[in-house]
């Protein structure tokens, strides 16, 4: 099917909402729903439509197979894919979570004014770069025992805080309190343990980063105040995931699911969509292992947060408390959650898969931290290293339209190979420096792969969610310093 033929099937149902009808592909149980602007629709690849349709063929899928505005071609589910499956009759699929389980992002506020930081940004970035191991093959400063690793798999950010890496308020400001209680490290293979241990407390590589930002625009002063954010101050964003531990958990269970799909007679349009009934042994084993992977990622981000605070304390000669370094929020991008959603007027438990998507619960939802409950959950949308990031709040139509989900970033438009041919790291570094952005990377080619031009416009993507009242803009932040793995 050509791009045009595929798009001829797609029907606009409302502003920023397109439907992939059930006759797009054989076996679809529900239609697809793509949340994009006209411009983003024009840029959408046929493969992304096809992957959205593929997901719609899986047993127990509810309402729609969805793609967020930053959606692009991935493996199995598209990146930016959201789907909910009936907890009794539906499936769980590692392809709907991804290899980097709970790759996610957190933002830390500060009372530091931009004027205090900008003149010293190079020195600060160098200190952060030295304090937080990043890049392929980097070694962690953390030495954990086998039982500590199991505790991290079980309790996530809570383990980290109880081990001295952070404060109690950090946990309250993480999605789900920084851990999924279904986790069972006994379902995590020896191999995943072995990959997780040396990489615990490392940032990783690729699109993962640590960024110092300037709060440059406030859209909703009241909500920004609730999140503790003031214009002209600086914030710190950390984007990383579950490292080799999560990758191995997914690798292991994809093999298990490959067999399970055959055993349970599930017809798959793509092997990467391998899955098992949610209530089967294989389905539950994966869910418990995936939860452990997610917890590892929360613990990882928490440990890194602690080192960021330490670095700031040393650099500015003041303690983290007086610098006002509170965690605003931490969201997961690649995760499956057992949640209750209202479907056709009936509340029921579903496994919501968010792959390259962020939870975006609205005001009043009981899973939103008490301090933010009246305004909705913070939704963190990182830009690329030269473009703004946004903090949104989960808004009123999120539950009705997207199972309480929003986009997770800008979404790639160009492959890494092409980017490396097109851009040179050293030149990019200079261009970003001219824009007042200090960038440190383990290798210049890493910068080329992550050039701002390889991503869609974060503003365009965010506006779709904003206009649909799924997640509304609260704050815009601009990078002034970026550390890349």
């Amino acid at each position: 099917m050509t791009q045009k033929q595929a798009k001829d099937f797609v029907r606009k149902v409302d502003e920023n909402i397109y439907e992939v009808p059930m006759d797009f592909q054989e076996g679809m149980r529900v239609p697809g729903r793509i949340f994009v602007s006209q411009k983003l629709m024009d840029d959408l690849e046929t493969d992304t439509l096809r992957q959205t349709a593929n997901v719609a063929t899986l047993p127990g899928i509810q309402k729609y197979s969805m793609a967020m505005p930053d959606a692009h071609f991935g493996y199995g589910f598209p990146i930016g894919g959201v789907a909910a499956f009936d907890a009794r009759d539906g499936v769980i699929s590692p392809g709907g979570v991804g290899f980097d389980i709970n790759c996610g992002v957190r933002i830390i506020r500060t009372d530091l004014e931009i004027g205090e930081v900008r003149p010293r940004i190079k020195g600060l970035m160098t200190e952060l770069f030295n304090a937080i191991p990043s890049g392929v093959g980097s070694k962690s400063r953390l030495r954990v025992s086998g039982s500590e690793l199991d505790d991290a798999f079980t309790y996530g950010a809570r383990w980290a805080v109880e081990s001295g890496y952070g404060v109690e308020a950090d946990i309250e400001h993480c999605e789900d309190g920084g851990f999924i209680d279904a986790a069972d490290p006994g379902k995590v293979s020896e191999r995943a343990h072995k990959r997780g241990k040396p990489q615990f407390g490392t940032l990783g590589s690729g699109n993962h980063f640590l960024e110092i930002q300037e709060v440059d625009k406030i859209y909703e002063p009241g909500i920004a105040r609730a999140y503790g954010i003031r214009e002209g101050t600086i914030t710190i964003m950390i984007h990383c995931g579950s490292r080799g531990a999560g990758h191995q958990i997914c690798t292991d269970y994809l093999r298990v699911m490959e067999q399970a799909s055959r055993k349970y007679g599930i017809k798959l349009p793509d092997k990467q969509l391998a899955c098992a009934p949610a209530n089967s042994r294989e389905g539950q084993d994966y869910f418990k292992a995936m939860a452990a992977g997610a917890n590892y990622a929360w613990a990882n981000r928490q440990v890194i947060t602690h080192w960021v605070r330490e670095t700031f304390e040393k650099f500015f000669g003041r303690d983290a408390e007086s610098l006002g370094m509170d965690l605003v929020y931490d969201v997961a991008h690649n995760v499956a959650k057992l949640e209750e959603h209202e479907i056709d007027g009936v509340k029921k438990p579903v496994y919501v898969h968010r792959k390259g998507a962020t939870r975006a619960f609205p005001p009043g939802h009981h899973d939103v931290p008490a301090a933010y409950r009246s305004v909705g959950q913070p939704v963190l949308i990182p830009g690329s290293m030269g473009t703004p990031s946004y903090i949104l709040h989960g808004a009123e139509r999120a539950m009705e339209l997207t199972f309480g989900s929003a986009c997770h970033g800008a979404g790639r438009v160009m492959g890494r190979g092409e980017a490396k041919q097109k851009f040179r790291g050293e030149i990019l570094e200079k261009q970003l420096a001219d824009k007042g952005i200090t960038v440190l990377a383990t290798h210049p080619s890493m910068l080329a792969e992550e050039a701002p031009e390889v991503y869609k416009s974060s503003s365009e993507v965010v506006n779709v969610m904003h206009e649909l009242h799924v997640a509304r803009k609260v704050v815009r932040v601009k990078p002034i310093g970026v550390a890349k793995g």
């Binding site: 991935g74 493996y75 290899f99 980097d100 890049g135 072995k194 391998a274 890494r416 190979g417 890493m446």
Partner: protein, 144 residues
Amino acid sequence: MNTPRFEYLPHPADVMFIAHGSTLEETFEQAAQAMFGVIVHNAIREPDRSVDIELESEGLENLLYDYLSELLYLFEVDELVFSRFQVDSIEKTGSIYMLKGSASGESIDTGRHNFETEVKAVTYHQLKVEKEDGGYSAHVIVDT
């Protein structure tokens, strides 16, 4: 070393490659070479460590998935950068395929090795091992 028989294909986010070989064994070796070509670029000295690899999988695609996943695991856990791949045999008994071989390389030295892109995992997406004129091809997408 023989001329590489693999090529990288465009992909918006991940890395896709196709490897060829006149035998299945050579095709697997080329796929491994292609995957490590994504991770590290530079002159690796004469390998000084070697690891034996023995795997058993149901189906040829699963064998390739397991083989490449095994190499990634050894890279991270034993901290070995591989530069030579030897697949001695791939034998079939019923639907089970058995692979025997080895991979050689050297310990990670972040001061000297130029790491390029982190490969998180091998995916099943469009994973194919096919017979073609004069041999076989393997089509692989790795998550980066």
